[in-house]
Each structure stands twice: as structure tokens, then as C-alpha cells.
């Protein structure tokens, strides 16, 4: 009896494995048979300026002229609507008005998820079977995705707590324990510490992924909503993640008031 049951399970598993392999045969594979997401990737869109449809507009810093202007873009939000609760909609408007001082990107703070993905800098996926390291060029941000046994999250953090699994060829990452200090773009779109993000990374071709993130936050939004965009592989022959340790570019802004004044 036990033997037959075992055989039946083995048979079923075998069939399932074969079926899923057939569907995903085009994706690159790691040694353990998973879709191989290793590489240096980058979004090529304007989501970091504004997640929603937007015309080009002035950047608001007169001296920067065209250099500081916001490029027009088609939004990445499904249906183009972000379903803010009424109080949150007011806060978003306020954020937009003070965006040139309040956006945490200005201070080189860790970007949070999902914003880290579509900042205008590359990031690298280093994929082994138990852990996946995501290293972002911006601010040297990193996060570790637990693929095997995930410890409980000890507290909220800037980059959150990421637990991953593969659904066929899609890497699904459940992100929780994010603090309320990060924004979603430069236009004041925001979230609270109740944010829950489910990310999906699916190979689209050898050199592109589809990135989808479902964003749920009952303190800020009336329902879950979704963004999606392609991510492109950096194909330069010696492509490498460079350092963008932006702390040194914000010290004058943050600490300039405490600098010793020149002697009179």
C-alpha cells in the first residue's frame, strides 16, 4: 500500500515537473533548475518621476532648466488610478507640493520596495538557491530574499523583509515590515507601515523580465493596486554595478548649517 502510494506520488510529481519544464524551456536555468534571473537589470521608464500618466513638466529648480525637467511618461499603474482613501489623497497632494524638500530620495535614504526597482539606476540579482541578493546601485541599497527558511522579521526596516518562492518561472517575493519613511516616486505617492508588496519577476526573453508589484496598504488605499513594467538586462560587455554612495552628495544639504563659518 505504502509503496503504491509512493509510486503514485512520484508519478504525479514527474508529470507536473515535465509539464512545467515544457512551459519554461526557453528561460535560462540555474543548476537547480530554476529560472535564472542573475544579471544586471534596469527599468527604462519615468516611473520614479511619477507612477501615473504625466506630461513633461518643469522640475521646479530654476537653475537646472531643461536638465532638471520631468520627462513625460505613460504610467505603470494598471488602470492608471491609485485608489487613495480620502485623507491619504490629501496627504499625497501635500507631498506633491513639497516634493522638492520632502522626497526621501533627496537625502539619499534607502529607497524601499518597490521604488528601488525603478529608480533610474541599475540593480543586480545574485541568485543562489537559498538566498537571492538584490543589490541596487542607488545608495548601495541591498536586500536579501529568503528562498528557503525565512526567519521572522525582527522589526520594520527601510528595505523590508522579503520571502521568495518560484511559481514555475516567476520569482514571487512577499515583502512586509517596510517602514513608513519611503515614498513610491518623486510625485509624493506614498504608503504607510502597513504596506504589503507582492512582487513578481517573470522572464520575458533572455534579456528582459516582466516586473509586477501588487501594493496593498489598508491605511492608505481603498483596495490593492498593481504596477507593471519590463526590466532590461544591461548588455554592455563589462557591465557592472558602480558605486553611487550618495551620502557625500547630501552632506552640505543636511549638515551645512553646522559647518564652521569662515573666520571674519
Amino acid at each position: 500500500m505504502r509503496i503504491w502510494l509512493g509510486l503514485a506520488i512520484a508519478f504525479q510529481l514527474g508529470v507536473l515537473a515535465t509539464a512545467s519544464e515544457a512551459q519554461v524551456s526557453q528561460a535560462r536555468r540555474t543548476a537547480d533548475g530554476k529560472a535564472d534571473l542573475n544579471g544586471i537589470w534596469q527599468a527604462l521608464n519615468t516611473a520614479n518621476w511619477d507612477l501615473q500618466d504625466h506630461a513633461a513638466r518643469s522640475g521646479g529648480v530654476v537653475s537646472l532648466g531643461a536638465l532638471g525637467a520631468v520627462p513625460a511618461g505613460l504610467g505603470v499603474v494598471e488602470g492608471n488610478e491609485i485608489p487613495y482613501l480620502p485623507a491619504a489623497a490629501a496627504r499625497r497632494k501635500e507631498n506633491f507640493e513639497k516634493r522638492l524638500t520632502a522626497d526621501p530620495e533627496i537625502k539619499c535614504y534607502l529607497p524601499g520596495v518597490p521604488r528601488a526597482t525603478y529608480l533610474p539606476y541599475p540593480f543586480q540579482i545574485v541568485q543562489e538557491s537559498k538566498y537571492i541578493l538584490m543589490a541596487y546601485e542607488y545608495a548601495g541599497a541591498t536586500r536579501t530574499i529568503y528562498m528557503d527558511q525565512a526567519p521572522p522579521s525582527p522589526s520594520d526596516s527601510w528595505m523590508g523583509h522579503s520571502v521568495g518562492r518560484f511559481e514555475r518561472d516567476t520569482l514571487v517575493v512577499d515583502v512586509t515590515s517596510l517602514n513608513d519613511q519611503t515614498w513610491l516616486d518623486r510625485s509624493g505617492n506614498f504608503h504607510s507601515d502597513a504596506l504589503h508588496v507582492v512582487e513578481r519577476y517573470t522572464p520575458l526573453s533572455a534579456d528582459a523580465l516582466t516586473y509586477e508589484a501588487t501594493i496593498e496598504d489598508p491605511k492608505v488605499f481603498s483596495r490593492p493596486w498593481k504596477i507593471s513594467m519590463p526590466l532590461y538586462r544591461r548588455l554592455e560587455r563589462n557591465a557592472q554595478l558602480m558605486e553611487f554612495k550618495c551620502v557625500e552628495f547630501v552632506e552640505e544639504l543636511m549638515y551645512g548649517q553646522f559647518r564652521k563659518p569662515p573666520s571674519k
Binding site: T30, A31, D32, N38, C108, Y109, L110, Q124, V126, Q127, E128, K130, Y131, L133, A135, A139, G140, A141, T142, R143, T144, Y146, P151, P154, S155, S157, W158, M159, Q181, N238, Q240, L241, M242, E243, K245, V247, E248, E251, M254, Y255, F258, R259, K260
Partner: protein
Amino acid sequence: MSHRFITSARILPLAVAAVSLMPPPAAGQSAPKTAGAAATWTAPRTADGRPDLQGIWDFRTITPLERPRTLGAKEFFTEAEAADFEAQENRRQNRDLIDPKVGGLNYPAGGVVPYNEIWYDRGDKVVKTKRTSLIVDPPSGRIPYTPEGQKRAERRALDEKNTQLGHPIADSWEDRPLQERCLMGSNAGPPMLPAAYNNNVQVFQTRDYVALLTEMVHDARIIPLDGRPFGTVPQWKGESRGHFEGDMLVVETRNFKRETSFPGSSANMHLIERFTRTDPDTLFYEFTVDDPVTWTRPWSGAIPMSRIEGPIYEYACHEGNYALPGILAGARADEKAAAEATRKAVK
């Protein structure tokens, strides 16, 4: 350990001081063998047939970088001597037992002991090899400074002392060490050296890369293994290239932007690191540094790192850096008080 608030001001000089007391590791070229490692043990392999270095590794130790002068030419402790050294050192290092009025360790009398013992996670053991210093070469266990290097080391020591007496040099943030600015972790190097806390590194390994994620300050050094040449762009943690030599991962790093968190080095530093699994729970880490401006000859250190379960949590340093504005504002307040005192004296 995830002490976001400790970013500060004062722990950093401490951390550097702790490092400078640490003995260095063993000679670069010698095959690393931890004491008692079974000669028959072979490292597990990755699917690509490389030695498997993956895991979270802890490099805490109270073995000093440089051998204490009192130990003379003694390179190794016996078991009993090691136990004695640990007992003494753990008492000496215990911040809760230092009276600020009297001073002790690297704290001058009349200064402050800014962090009490609860902040520390420096470990309480000497390295498994029982070496008396982390430096393994030169045999003296001491850093072979050039006169220029010595001068810089003394200037650093003086600044540390002044900082602990409440008078840091702080005209601008640029006067402060990289760790206080959260630009580089105090122990992340490269090369990695133990400091006050967060002495952990996670190794990720794929066919094409090895990544070293140091807890301090969430810094990922991603090392290509494909033999590509060095570029020309200077970076804070330099540019690293790696390859395997048998069971050993060899990583070469150059193109530093200026000094790293590694005290005293210059942008010209050339670094070789070697990583070897020597038993199921040990990753033997060796480094050799060369920088003719700072040191008269290349020198080497070694630290047997121990496997831990982890995980490593986020250390968001800059985001919680209340110390740096505090240090700068404190210096301005001191100047104001001094000017006021002068004004009154003149009257």
C-alpha cells in the same frame, strides 16, 4: 546586531581603536589550516564544481590586529595562555568597568566612555589559531609603517584622544572618519577587520560572481569571476576581481577612491584576499595589503571566520545618523562658548 543608533560619533573612534589593537592574521601565501582541522576534510562543492563558500560568517574576535608589545616574539598562545589572555582582555575591554575620571583602554582620564558594554558585540575569544595577533606577516605582528604612515597613524590617534576628551576636529563633516559619515562601515574594509559590532559577512556565490555582503553598512561587494580586466574608475571600496585557485577564492582589489575604512591606507593600496573553507564551520580569511606610501613592505593578516545561522539584518546607518550633526553642532557650541569667555576676559 542592528544598532541603528550607534552610528555615531563616538563609537567609531572606538571601533577603530579596537581594530588597531587587534592582532593580524597569518601569512598570505601559506596554506591555511586551522588548528586541529582534519587533513582529510574537503570543502563541499557548488553545482559548478567550485568550493562552496556560501553562508553567513562571523569574524568577531578579541585577538588584536597588532601583537601587544609585551608579548615580544611570541606568535602563538598555548591553550592556558589563551584562556588567561581572554580573561584579562575581557575585563580590560569591559566599558562598564572603566571609570571615566581615571580612564583606561584607549580612553584618556577625564574624558567620556560614550558607549557602555551593552552596545558591544566584539566577541570574547581569541582566534581559533591561537595566534597572538591577526597580523601574521611580518613575524613581529606589527604594521610596518613608513615615516609618512606613522605620522598619519599618530595624527589619527591624537584625533581619537581629542574626540574622547570632547574636542573632536569637526570644522566640517569632511574632518570626520568615513564611518561616522556612514560612507563606509568601520569593519567592512576591504579588507574586513573586526570592530565593535556587526562583524558579519554573507557570501553569495553564483557561476559568474561572488558577492560579499557586510552587515556594516549593508555594503555588497560584487566580484566578477570572469577574468575581466580592471577598469579605471576609483570607488570607495575599490574594484575587485576574483578567481579560484584550487580550493581557494582569490580576490584582488585596486582603484580605491582614497583611504577605505581600513585605517591609514591610501588610494594606492593594493589588496589580495584569500578565502578557504578549512572545516565545516570555518572560512579562513587572509589578506595581504601593499601601499608603499604608508607601509615599508606588504603585510598580511588572517582571521578564521565562523559559520553562524544569521540572518543579517539591515543596518541603516545614514538614515539614523543623529551623531554627525550632533558632533558638528557641539563643536560650534564649544567655539561660541570659547568666544564668549574671551570676550568676558577682555572686559
